[in-house]
């Protein structure tokens, strides 16, 4: 899928959770949202992108959330 669009969507999720004062909650929020609402092919594409492009254009908090909870975001099937 259009990578630019996925990056854009992920950053928007980051914008929302970044406002939380508890950083751990924010990171978990981002990862949880991606896990609960993004179809596996969207998530794998995002994970591949983070690996390949070192998270270019993604908000730092999104990259951190993805790296911290990577195992949670890998498709189960």
């Amino acid at each position: 899928m259009d990578m630019q669009n996925l990056v854009h969507m992920a950053n928007k999720i980051g914008d929302f959770f970044e406002a939380m004062p508890d950083r751990e909650e924010a990171l978990l929020g981002i990862a949880g949202h991606l896990h609960n609402f993004w179809e596996p092919r969207m998530r794998s594409q995002l994970l591949d992108y983070v690996d390949a492009e070192n998270g270019k254009d993604l908000k730092p908090i999104v990259v951190t959330a993805i790296r911290t909870y990577r195992s949670k975001l890998v498709s189960q099937h």
Partner: protein, 962 residues
């Protein structure tokens, strides 16, 4: 199988129901009196007329009807009261304890007969050929009073030669038959709240006048039908009744238009609808209606209905009419082929928010069992998905908190991003009634919507914000509540999570969230915001009603949470008159969401990753369910363009017209290998389809709809499906051809399965719905009769959860190239993509979509009222006629999306809500300029549409030759 309750018209009153003459009164105090020697006990404040009717005695009457306040003009309902002089009107005289009333005596008989004689001396005696014959209260009263002769003769001055007003397409006004009872005038005021009618002239000259002696169509009349409903004669009469005569039976069903979900009686002759009459016992509408539900049902039998299944291998091929068997086999084979070639996740389905709950349930079941994935979504994605997300996070349930009736107890009403008088008219009438009784009104909307100022209604505050700044305004309102000490501290301490509350409180208290700081962003003066916040927090019971102007934004979900935060912060939740109330767009948006139509949820809003729920459904369905969420509608398009999503089963939704960035959607559909469209018309999406399965209208099937108040109501079949199958039967047939058996003989059995598997529906059944009329879920062991008000003692999630809602500006920013903001919406007479209403006489009110633009912006661009203008965004360009209007603020333009050729969604972009991907329809940066011809897209569309109609024509032609 369950039978529909069918009623034979008694012919006694306008819609065959008992008329008690004056409205029900509620009072803690009861009064006992004697009527004709019989003891009757009623609530204090009840009229003698109603008390008598409740006791079984129907006092003659003409100007009184129980939907209207008593008026006391016809002098037919006179009674005698022991110890009192004269003959008071029973409709305007309240009961008193110990009163002794006589409803019949020789004197009363003489008086009534005299009154009737006067009426009839100026009334045409064409009863046998009159349209109201068999359903005329004047005729009934002539009979009851024993009128045998008219001593005055008929040659005196009279109104018998008056001209009829035929201007309204749905009803006729015949002044010759008017008895000037004022019922219509009062219905327009009291029931509808439009004040379009009056009595002009005095004495003998008195006649009903729309506007200022104008024809109905030229007046402010909104054609709701309330006047026609209460007219006791044939003065205001449905044209269908004039044409077809009185119905012989009626069936109670539910309207298939907006999320109000009005209950109607379909009055029938055989399989033909004669008229739709709002059901007095209908819990959502209590006898009221709007122009769509009441009159615009002719589409259901329109000649454009496609009644034969069709297939084609490419969208450039002509359609071929085939048998149901061939069409279904073809669709099944294609889906199998695609899955084999591209993988299990390469196909999916779209559930309609117009179809029944049972049909929605079956489509998601088909996707989860037969397709073996979670690629199922519903058109609620593009309207209220942020409501589902936002309310679940904060309150714990993805639904509104109240009944519509609850507004009668509101002291402050906040309407945000909704235009109820156009989009939810029957609820708007309730709201206006409460406002005219003195409730305060706060409107938060970029446009000067009708509610801001209309007869007897005026907003105390209109926060005319810039589109896209909802979250900023909500934070500013919250800031005032926190910083001025207006919090409901006790409520919060008892009912809400403390840590989250403290964090939220600290956040909204930040200086950057003050109305003064936000002023620059929202364009609303800090003083207004402070005033509105104080009113909302301290004005008594305060209720928030919101619509797509809240959800269809990049921060749609954030705004919904912001609304829930406000309600919790002020303790406005969990009782009558308060709450958070999403006004749902389509008839079954709530229901389709409840039924597990979202790709991440099973029925009852339970996430697919929840193994307990998944196992429950796996056991019931005998398959394994994927634990991962599927694709949402916009993701499906992206995946199609990517080559990984190639087949779609789309039931009753027109994604090409209704989804944003049409060119993107069209490209995605064109890339797919098999699109199966199930619809009643050849809609825009069907032009990209390979299989067309004829759908059935709401008149052709049994089922249930769930409205914006979580109210489940029955839809009842009044005629056989025109194409042979109801939609739920088609899904079963398709599933079977894909190797999965669904055994249901009737939709009631589908609901039984839903009830068995969904805790909030445990207590729902067709039998109970027939018994109670309707049920608001949750309905289960804890609430056997349903739940009118939610979150009463505690929140569904336990404790209420405040969530920080930081304003983030949308990426759709105005620039030098695109200096205006386009926002979209709908109008009263048309509905959504217009597929239904465009095929009715409603086009007489709105025959094309217009671009509303402020005079300042128009003048700057040389745009004139009625002239062609192009609207250009980064997504595309279209051309519409301009309407120069001060309803708009400078810098903001507006249009509707009811006509496909308008291409409103050519301009809208694929920007979407961060949480749900609900499109940001309400904010698009555009430029507007005068032009002389249609846009490139429109020319292309016209060519494509013409070719598709020719391809359809070939199918019909080949059939007729064969």
């Amino acid at each position: 199988m369950l039978e529909s309750p069918r009623n034979i018209n008694s012919g006694k009153t306008n819609s065959g129901e008992k008329d008690f003459g004056t409205p029900r009164r509620t009072s803690g105090q009861e009064v006992t009196l004697e009527i004709d020697g019989m003891q009757v006990t009623v609530a204090a404040g009840t009229s003698i007329m109603r008390a008598a009717a409740e006791g079984g005695v129907n006092v003659p009457k003409l100007c009184a009807t129980d939907s209207l306040e008593p008026f006391g003009s016809c002098r037919l309902c006179l009674v005698e009261i022991e110890g009192r002089k004269g003959y008071p009107a029973s409709c305007t005289t309240p009961v008193e304890a110990g009163m002794k009333v006589r409803t019949q005596s020789p004197k009363l008989q003489t008086l009534r007969k005299g009154v009737m004689e006067l009426y009839i001396s100026d009334h045409p005696l064409d009863c046998l050929t009159c349209a109201a014959n068999g359903n005329c209260e004047l005729q009934d009263m002539a009979g009851v009073t024993g009128l045998r002769e008219v001593r005055y003769g008929y040659d005196g001055e009279n109104h018998l030669v008056s001209n009829k007003d035929e201007s309204n397409p749905y009803f006729t006004y015949d002044p010759a038959k008017c008895i000037v009872c004022n019922r219509c005038v009062r219905a327009c005021e009291e029931t509808q709240g439009t004040y379009a009618l009056t009595i002009s002239g005095r004495g003998f000259e008195s006649r009903v006048s729309p506007g200022q002696d104008q024809p109905f169509m030229d007046s402010e009349c909104v054609s709701c039908g309330a006047c026609v409903q209460v007219c006791p004669t044939a003065t205001l009469q449905e044209k269908t009744v004039i044409e077809k005569g009185q119905a012989e039976h009626s069936v109670v069903t539910t309207c298939a238009y907006c999320g109000v979900g009005c209950s109607f009686k379909a009055e029938m002759k055989g399989n033909e609808v004669v008229r739709m009459v709002p059901n007095k016992d209908g819990h959502a509408n209590e006898g009221h209606s709007c122009v769509k539900g009441r009159f615009a049902w002719g589409y259901a039998t329109h000649q454009d209905r496609i009644l034969k299944p069709m297939i084609r291998s490419k969208i450039t091929d002509p359609w071929r009419e085939v048998s149901w068997d061939e069409a279904l086999n073809y669709a099944a084979a294609e889906f199998k082929r695609i899955q084999k070639k591209y993988g299990r996740d390469s196909i999916g389905g779209i559930v309609s928010s117009r179809c029944t709950n049972e049909e929605a349930y079956l489509v998601q079941k088909l996707v989860r069992t037969v397709f073996g994935n979670n690629n199922v979504d519903t058109c609620a994605r593009v309207c209220h998905s942020p409501t589902g997300y936002g309310l679940k996070q904060t309150l714990g349930e993805s639904a509104g908190t109240q009944t519509f009736k609850s507004v009668e107890h509101s002291d402050v009403i906040m309407v945000m991003g909704a235009n109820p008088t156009d989009a939810h008219p029957v609820f708007a009438s309730r709201m206006k009634k409460r406002l005219s009784e003195g409730a305060k009104l706060i409107v938060i909307d970029p446009r000067h919507i009708d509610l801001v100022r209309s007869p007897h209604v005026a907003a105390d505050f209109h926060l005319q914000l810039k589109p896209g700044t909802n979250v900023a305004i909500l934070s500013a309102l919250a800031h005032v509540i926190v910083s001025e000490g207006l919090l409901a501290t006790e409520f919060i301490a008892q009912r809400c999570e403390d840590k989250a509350f403290q964090q939220w409180k600290d956040f909204v208290a930040l200086p950057e969230n003050s109305p003064e700081a936000m002023q620059e962003i929202t364009g609303v003066s800090a003083e207004l915001v402070r005033g509105a916040a104080r009113l909302y927090a301290t004005g008594g019971n305060a209720a928030i009603y919101y619509g797509l102007g809240v959800t269809e934004h990049a921060q749609g979900s954030t705004a919904v949470m912001g609304i829930a935060n406000l309600a919790m912060a002020t303790g406005n939740i969990g009782r009558e008159g308060v709450g958070v109330n999403p006004l749902r767009g389509q008839n079954n948006v709530q229901g389709s969401c409840d039924m597990g139509s979202f790709p991440h949820e099973l029925p009852g809003y339970r996430h697919v990753s929840d193994s307990t729920t998944r196992h429950l459904f796996e056991q019931a369905w005998g398959v394994e369910i994927q634990p991962e969420p599927g694709l949402r509608i916009p993701n499906m398009f992206d995946a199609a363009l990517d080559g990984s999503f190639m087949g779609l089963y789309c039931q009753g939704e027109d994604i090409v017209q209704s989804d944003p960035n049409i060119q993107h959607v069209a490209a995605a559909l064109a890339a797919m290998e098999c699109i199966v469209v199930q619809d009643i018309f050849m809609n825009e999406t069907a032009m990209y389809a390979h299989v067309f399965l004829p759908g059935s209208s709401f008149l052709e099937k049994d089922g249930t709809f769930t409205n914006a108040e979580r109210r489940i109501s029955r839809v009842r079949k009044v005629m056989p499906p025109k194409a042979g199958y109801a939609d739920w039967e088609v899904t079963i047939e398709l599933a079977q051809r894909l190797g999965y058996e669904m055994h249901y003989a009737h939709p009631s059995e589908i609901l039984d399965e839903i009830a068995r598997l969904t805790p909030t529906f445990h207590g729902v059944s067709y039998e109970k719905l027939d018994r109670l009329g309707s049920i608001q879920w949750p309905c289960n062991e804890a609430a056997p009769l349903g739940t009118p008000i939610m979150h009463v003692d505690h929140f569904v999630r336990g404790k209420g959860h405040f969530i920080i809602t930081k304003y983030v500006a949308t990426d759709e920013k105005v620039t030098r190239k695109f200096p205006l903001i386009l926002t979209t919406g709908r109008i009263l007479s048309q509905y959504n993509v217009g597929a239904q209403t465009r095929r009715t006489s409603n086009v007489q009110w709105h025959e094309q979509d217009l671009l509303e633009i402020h005079p300042h912006d128009a003048e700057e661009r040389g745009v004139v009222d009625g002239g062609w203008v192009s609207i250009h965004s980064r997504a595309g360009e279209t051309v519409l006629r301009a309407k120069v209007s001060e309803r708009m603020q400078p810098g903001v333009v507006y249009t509707t999306f009811h006509f496909p050729e308008s291409g409103a969604n050519v301009i809208t972009t694929e920007n979407s809500d961060w949480a749900t991907n609900c499109p940001e329809y309400k904010v698009t940066a555009v430029q507007v300029k005068p032009v002389s011809e249609p846009s490139e897209w429109q020319k292309k569309y016209t060519r494509f549409s013409k070719v598709q109609h020719e391809l359809l024509g070939k199918a019909r032609q080949s059939k007729s030759i064969a």
